[in-house]
């Protein structure tokens, strides 16, 4: 494999992948090989010769970054019922800007005046209590980074044919933020949980009154009433003035616009935990309460629709995450899975969190199939698509976490493939 690549760089795996340590040691001037922008600057005054613009009260991205936006897909009969996707393929690092965090609403974004909002905890408790926002802001808080992923993310992967759209329009129902709020355990202590209470029904104050049952054990473990996202108050589309945060759990359980936790000795068997967000298997039975999101990874660049317009060095990079803990390894293949090289992981690697992986790749105009495969600390390895389908059938709709593959053709055009 190695001799087809005209490079003196140490090989990582077949078809041009270079050892990850090459980047880390910095012993090779990789930067010089990357493309420089070839488009001339627009005919505008030299910014060094005219004073710049003034201050703004709330900053916006550069006007030159208009393509870094959420694409949305909604039901025309109910425009508040739909999805918008995080443009993962246009982002770097691991923190998703608040304005680009994916959205999944079932009946629109409510406009909630925080002064009128209460979180009520009732049902099987000793002292039912209501908490105002002002009260919650006085409670001990903590911050953590974690991802939120819709259970339906990547569901186009179940299709018979690979969808040719920007990879984020398939896999972008996931985002990663630093969340800050009040540990639910503190509030449960205050209301006094009845020992018979094993479930809590979390309800949102939206036009869907979305309700989901979650185990009390999760609430008293690492759950949070999140009030802040990436340092600022949560935005309306992500649950202002508060949402339930259940690190590692599927997104729909992390109820936005949260106003009620009703403790009970049984799950509600609400519509979204019975007729939706359950996975029908080939044998006609269904998986239910699949709360944890499994190990997953995605190459964000190069990805579908991108073009490698010069031969030379590129960085294959992407994101990996698992709802069950830390990512311990991401492997990358450039030959459709015949050989794999271990990617470098940007640190710190945190549990239930996006982990950025990178690997240098020497592309010399050869056809290639790029894949990434993640392993988490429980030892679970991201499955190939045919393995997932053999195990779960084709009608599960939710919890698709198979390896994603891209073909690079001899002109450098990248397309989505199943291999």
């Amino acid at each position: 494999m190695g001799d087809e690549n005209d490079t003196t760089l140490p090989p990582g795996a077949g078809n041009g992948l270079i050892d990850r340590r090459t980047l880390l040691t910095g012993s090779v001037a990789l930067g010089a090989a990357f493309c420089l922008p070839r488009t001339p600057m627009a005919q505008k005054p030299d910014p060094m010769q005219v004073p710049g613009s003034g201050f703004v009260t709330y900053g916006h991205p550069s006007v030159h970054e208009k393509r870094t936006i959420r694409y949305s897909s909604t039901n025309p009969m109910a425009p508040g019922n739909g999805i918008s996707y995080t443009p993962l393929h246009r982002l770097e690092g691991t923190i998703v800007p608040n304005g680009l965090h994916f959205e999944r609403h079932h009946n629109g974004v409510p406009n909630i005046d925080p002064a009128s909002h209460r979180l009520t905890i009732h049902g099987k408790v000793k002292r039912p209590l209501a908490f105002s926002i002002d009260a919650l802001l006085r409670y001990p808080m903590h911050s953590r980074q974690c991802f939120v992923e819709c259970g339906g993310n990547s569901n186009a992967g179940w299709n018979d044919e690979p969808l040719q759209t920007a990879t984020s329009n398939i896999h972008g129902m996931v985002a990663n933020s630093e969340w800050t709020g009040v540990p639910v355990a503190i509030l449960l202590d205050e209301v006094g949980v009845d020992p018979a209470a094993t479930w809590a029904v979390a309800e949102g104050r939206d036009a869907f009154a979305l309700a989901m049952s979650v185990p009390v054990a999760k609430l008293s473990d690492d759950a949070m009433i999140a009030l802040y996202q990436n340092g600022e108050r949560i935005r309306p589309e992500n649950g202002y003035p508060m949402r339930l945060l259940l690190p590692g759990y599927e997104g729909v359980t992390q109820v936005k616009w949260l106003h009620r936790l009703q403790l009970a000795d049984q799950p509600a068997m609400a519509r979204n935990e019975t007729s939706r967000y359950t996975e029908l298997q080939a044998d006609g039975t269904a998986r239910q309460f699949t709360l944890e999101m499994e190990v997953k990874s995605l190459i964000t660049s190069p990805s579908t629709g991108m073009v490698l317009d010069e031969r030379g060095l590129y960085e294959v990079k992407g994101l990996a995450w698992s709802g069950r803990g830390r990512i311990v390894r991401v492997e990358v293949s450039a030959d459709g899975g015949k050989s794999w090289a271990e990617a470098a992981l940007d640190g710190p690697v945190q549990p239930k969190c996006f982990t950025r992986f990178r690997l240098p790749w020497h592309w010399q105009g050869q056809a290639a199939v790029l894949k990434s495969r993640a392993t988490d600390e429980t030892g679970e390895v991201q499955p190939e698509r045919d393995v997932l389908i053999a195990k779960r059938g084709k009608h599960g709709y939710f919890h698709y976490n198979a390896v994603v593959s891209y073909a690079v053709d001899e002109d450098g055009f990248v397309s989505h493939v199943y291999t």
Partner: protein, 190 residues
């Protein structure tokens, strides 16, 4: 950064200090929750559970439900729930283990109480919360009738809704939570 465990350790520290001062330790937080009176609590209790908790008294009539459905629901769910921009609700033809399974109320939903709960909280999409409990019973009666699970002439009472055993009741395997044994419908968290 403070982890939940550390936050709890800090709070337990507070608790231990306070125990020396008082017979009963203070709550872990500042204790700013407001007590609720009975009336407020009753108004909150809108979740309907499979055992009937939260289900109001009332009775549903299939024919009244049919008329309501035509007026309020058919524009999205199709005539008699056959499907439209919103999911099909009845008339499952293909079984769940087939190539193109139909996941309707009758073929897929494990509990009939869910129909009442969901219709009352979220339907119709353009005017959620606008249906009375009685209207919700009528619609539930009609939807169950469409699925061959309730006679046209029988009233759908609270008791009927609780005891109705849906065809796919045992079709679900719990994954991240331990499913209670079949004889006990009450559930246990992990």
């Amino acid at each position: 950064m403070c982890t939940p465990r550390r936050a709890r350790a800090w709070m337990v520290g507070l608790l231990l200090t306070a125990v020396v001062q008082a017979q009963e330790g203070p709550p872990l937080g500042p204790g700013l929750g407001q007590p609720l009176d009975e009336r407020t609590l009753l108004a909150l209790d809108r979740t309907v559970f499979p055992d009937g908790t939260g289900l109001p008294q009332g009775s549903g009539d299939v024919s009244l439900g049919e008329a309501l459905f035509a007026e309020r629901c058919a524009h999205c769910h199709g005539e008699a729930g056959a499907g439209g921009t919103a999911p099909e609700l009845a008339y499952a033809q293909m079984p769940l283990d087939s190539e193109w399974p139909d996941q309707t109320i009758g073929s897929y939903w494990p509990y009939a109480t869910t129909v009442f709960d969901f219709v009352r909280r979220a339907m119709p999409m353009e005017a959620p919360g606008s249906l009375s409990d009685e209207q919700t019973y009528h619609l539930t009666a009609y939807l169950l009738h469409l699925n061959g699970l309730h006679e046209r002439d029988a009233p759908l009472t609270r008791q009927v809704l609780i005891t109705l055993r849906m065809p796919n009741r045992d079709g679900f395997r719990w994954v991240d939570v331990t499913k209670p044994p079949p004889e006990a419908d009450r559930t246990t968290a992990p």
